[in-house]
């Protein structure tokens, strides 16, 4: 992701080659689960998704030759998503245990009429 090429006359890389690389990565992500090992699947599924998305962003969206701070803008937004996840996940993922008490409902007393 070097930015040396900023404002160079946009020498286009070979898009077909990048495309082929993406297809190879796709194939690997499909083969991953066949090892039957959850960690391997995790890496081949999501690790490769990150690599693929970065490649698409860098070469197809031309972020590699765009001003640097566009990356930062997008990453800050991703950062907000992570903050959201970190703040919410403890409640949504682990509601069992210390945060909730399962109390039987006591119906309110009937209203007293004078």
């Amino acid at each position: 992701m070097s930015s040396e090429a900023v404002h160079a006359d946009r020498a286009h890389p070979s898009y077909v080659r990048i495309y082929l690389a993406l297809l190879v990565l796709l194939a690997i992500s499909l083969l991953g689960p066949m090892f039957g090992h959850p960690i391997v699947t995790l890496v081949t599924a999501f690790g490769i998704a990150i690599v693929k998305a970065t490649m698409v962003a860098a070469y197809f969206m031309h972020l590699n030759i765009e001003e640097r701070y566009v990356w930062y803008i997008l990453f800050v937004m991703l950062g907000f998503v992570l903050v959201m996840f970190a703040g919410i996940a403890p409640d949504v993922m682990l509601p069992a245990g210390q945060n909730w008490l399962h109390l039987p409902i006591t119906p309110p007393a009937p209203p007293v009429h004078h």
Partner: protein, 572 residues
Amino acid sequence: MSMPAPAHGAAVAHAPESFWSRYVFSTDHKVIGLQYMFTGMAMALIGGFMAYVFRMQLAFPGQSVPLYGLVTAREYNALITNHGSIMIFWVSMPVLIAGLGNFLIPLMIGCDDMVFPRLNRLSYQIFFVSVVIILISLVVPGGGFGGAWTAYPPLSASAHYNHTPWGAPLWLLAVALEFVAFLLGGINFTVTVMNARAPGMTAMRIPIVVWMIVIASLVFMGSVGPLIAGAVMLFLDQTVGTQFFDPKAGGDPLLWQHLFWFFGHPEVYVVLLPATGVVAEVLTVFARKKLFAYKTILGTAIATGIISFFVWAHHQFVAGIDPRMAHLFTITTLLISIPVAEMLFAFIATLYGGSIEFATPMLWALAFIAEFLIGGVTGIFLGANATDIYLHDTYFVVAHFHYTFFPIAIIGTFAAITYWFPKMFGRRMSETLGKIHFWGTVIPFNLIFIPLFLTGVAGQHRRIYSYENFPQLSTPWLNHLAVIATVALIVMLAFQVVFLVNFFWSMRHGEEVGANPWNANTLEWAAPSPPPHGNFVTMPAVYRGPYEYGVPDRDLDYWPQHVPNQEELPRA
């Protein structure tokens, strides 16, 4: 509401335009800004009327309210819900961000329009549709949505619980459309300020209010996404019958609370920042003194914007969230008061040693600082999880956030309108009427909400239709306070008539003014009043920062941004 024809040389020659193309379908940023502003102010009247109705019900429970009639419990809920939603989404946002942003940004950074004028118009049109929908939602069968502006499921998720089969989805749709409108507007603002600045308008020469509006737009953009996703889910829960937020089916109601407040809390800073920007502009002009610590103020605004993403769960301390997270959110909440306090200190330091003129805009700006301080200080109690567990959802909270929102949405807006009115319409508002209106608004405001602090501490809960059902909470003393608050509200609403008279009368008959009636520096005052389509007679360039007031060795005590340096040489 006619806008006076440009009296000075217009920058762009124009064929006569019809009323429609000039005021309704215009792409001119100033017209769109005023559209937002007028719509927002009309909605403020509606929101204020709702406050009147439900306050009357609280002060005189079960009695027919003049101009409205009997308030049922269901109507009460719908009234407070839509009061809150309207005041935030259809008053604060359009007036402070969209209205001021549209009107001011191109003028203040020295260009002729927004970079995407048609997108701008589209944004207003979407906003307008959302206004129509929220108003329709009040009168559909079943009545308006009554599940509070926070719309917590399961109550909001199913007509089975909330009994508003039409009101709830329409409310949600209106809010979602409003989000879309402000996303489009925010992108337009941001790109305009990034790209379309006048030559010489470097980042550190941009007026604070423009910075504030841009930071607010970005905070909005960063926080609203998850809630848009959440709104889609909630809408499907309401209309199709999915169970995203239904714990019985594996959904999670707490998720909505989080998604809502992940947006909802940054949102309060979204409306706060533009208001503080307005205050900064007004303070320097009427103190005739350079803004104290421009860069610090900017830094505090950015810090506030960022920290505002880390505090949201302080609204949920009693919602059963993880207690360890609650501690974290307490700490971040206390932290965010630091930059905000710093900003207020910088404002006060700006006043120190200035030659202060108590014109109406200045009064509003000073009132903002004083009243917002009360809001901020009471917020500390609510941000600390231990005290909040007692105070949560009491009138203490209501009083606290009105001490923040009212300065923002009402006081800040009046500061802006009285200050920029000459630019908008080429005429001055009446100072006398302005001051009557000022005191007639600010004094009753305190009389409304100080009693509510007390009823809150005494244990009165918010969103309660009638305290007659709670004998311990309807003691004579508490009822007294409720009556005081309500009477003060009626007085305050009555004084708004003074403003309306002043506004519309001055629009046509006020004293005509030149381009720069306040002797201010920023670029909008270099354009004719009101600015023609295209804004400037000659496009300005910028030579210095926006706050060069009282510069030593200068005859004039101000030094407009667009005046080249050599101008002063021949004076000697």
